[in-house]
């Protein structure tokens, strides 16, 4: 078992916003511990350091899809084949893939663990109060679809990943960990 030290998150200044980031290495170790080693992604700016770390790490296979719709389909195929998939996308990808989340994820009962980045979010504001529509609407959209979710704001929230994976499997449908703070 790998011991993970939760380091204090350094502040991050980006595009005029002061945010706190979560170290990509912490996500990497948690994903490996949860045996989520096959990553299907349409790259997310918010989680770019995590994607870079996963791409360098031989323990992971990263499959880049052209669209999030494809990503959901690939995850279904992986699951039928005996592989637990992780779908790493941006909030825009949730909007883009509503039909496959419904038709495959929900109707076919596929337990997909999702990591959804809130790109462009002002970390001082709750997602539902954001000015931007994607950050404001994505959690209500997930709720409307019946997709359980938890927000990861700091490294201390990382255990949510395990709960989300378990939730997806119990419910036999996708569940989403929402990455509220950028990975660094």
């Amino acid at each position: 078992m790998t011991n993970v030290t939760l380091l204090a998150d350094p502040p991050l200044v980006w595009q005029g916003m002061t945010a706190r980031g979560i170290r990509a290495s912490l996500f990497v170790e948690e994903l490996d511990r949860l045996r989520l080693n096959t990553i299907v992604t349409v790259p997310d700016t918010h989680q770019r350091t995590l994607l870079a770390a996963l791409g360098r790490d031989q323990r992971f296979r990263v499959v880049t899809a052209a669209t999030e719709d494809e990503g959901v389909g690939i995850c279904a195929g992986l699951w039928w084949g005996g592989v637990d998939p992780l779908l790493l996308i941006q909030h825009a990808g949730v909007f883009a893939s509503v039909n496959t989340l419904r038709g495959i994820g929900l109707d076919m009962g596929i337990p997909i663990t999702m990591l959804v980045g809130l790109y462009g979010r002002d970390p001082a504001v709750a997602p539902e109060d954001s000015r931007g529509s994607m950050n404001r609407m994505v959690l209500p959209l997930l709720e409307h679809l019946g997709i359980q979710h938890e927000l990861i704001e700091t490294a201390n929230d990382l255990p949510a990943l395990e709960r989300i994976k378990a939730q997806a499997q119990v419910d036999a449908r996708p569940a989403a960990a929402i990455v509220g703070a950028e990975t660094i």
């Binding site: 389909g73 039928w80 005996g82 496959t100």
Partner: protein, 195 residues
């Protein structure tokens, strides 16, 4: 030369099918179901366009088995980027058959964008598939299919169908529970892996 029909294509495929996982969709689905049924079939219904992506996931998860996707032309157009995604992932066990009739059959034979002119074999080759083929007559397809399936994937096979012929097979969607089919497929694959 004999024109190529959906029925001739499906019967040729069925004659060579053993332990392959098959992902049929749209007009190929009802015809395939009428000819052959297996717990290794994973129909794509309710998410038009997703058959190729579902097949890619299966091919990556189960590299020891061939995965055949029986796709539609309008269906593939809905996730055309999957050609690049599949080529990049480069699963050697994925065989992508595109039933190219040039129309949306279910909704009333409206022409797909590009109609019969559009060339999926060229697109696949340009995207980076290992090989791509086009067949428009039944005899060539039947006699060559074995060799096509011996090529390392990903391979795309474009089947240019003669829509003027009623091939006698059902067309419309059939009542299936894809969720149950998926769970059954997962169990079957798990048991064969363990064995």
């Amino acid at each position: 030369m004999t024109s190529l029909t959906r029925a001739a294509s499906l019967r040729a495929l069925a004659s060579l099918r053993h332990e392959q996982i098959v992902v049929p969709t749209m007009t190929a689905l009802a015809g395939w179901h009428a000819i052959q049924q297996s717990d290794l079939d994973m129909p794509c219904v309710g998410a038009m366009g997703s058959a190729s992506s579902m097949a890619l996931g299966l091919a990556l998860a189960r590299p020891e088995r061939q995965v055949w996707v029986l796709d539609g032309d309008g269906s593939l157009l809905m996730q055309l980027g999957s050609l690049a995604t599949i080529a990049e992932a480069a699963p050697p066990n994925l065989y992508h058959f595109v039933f190219h009739n040039g129309v949306y059959v279910f909704s009333g034979d409206q022409k797909i964008p590009g109609g019969s002119r559009i060339d999926f074999a060229l697109m696949a080759k340009a995207a980076g598939y290992s090989k791509s083929f086009t067949f428009d007559d039944a005899e060539s397809f039947v006699t060559t299919l074995d060799d096509v399936l011996a090529q390392p994937g990903p391979v795309l096979v474009q089947l240019k169908l003669d829509q003027s012929v009623d091939d006698g097979l059902p067309v419309r969607d059939i009542p299936l529970d894809p969720g149950e089919r998926g769970r059954r497929l997962r169990q079957l694959l798990a048991s064969t892996r363990a064995g």
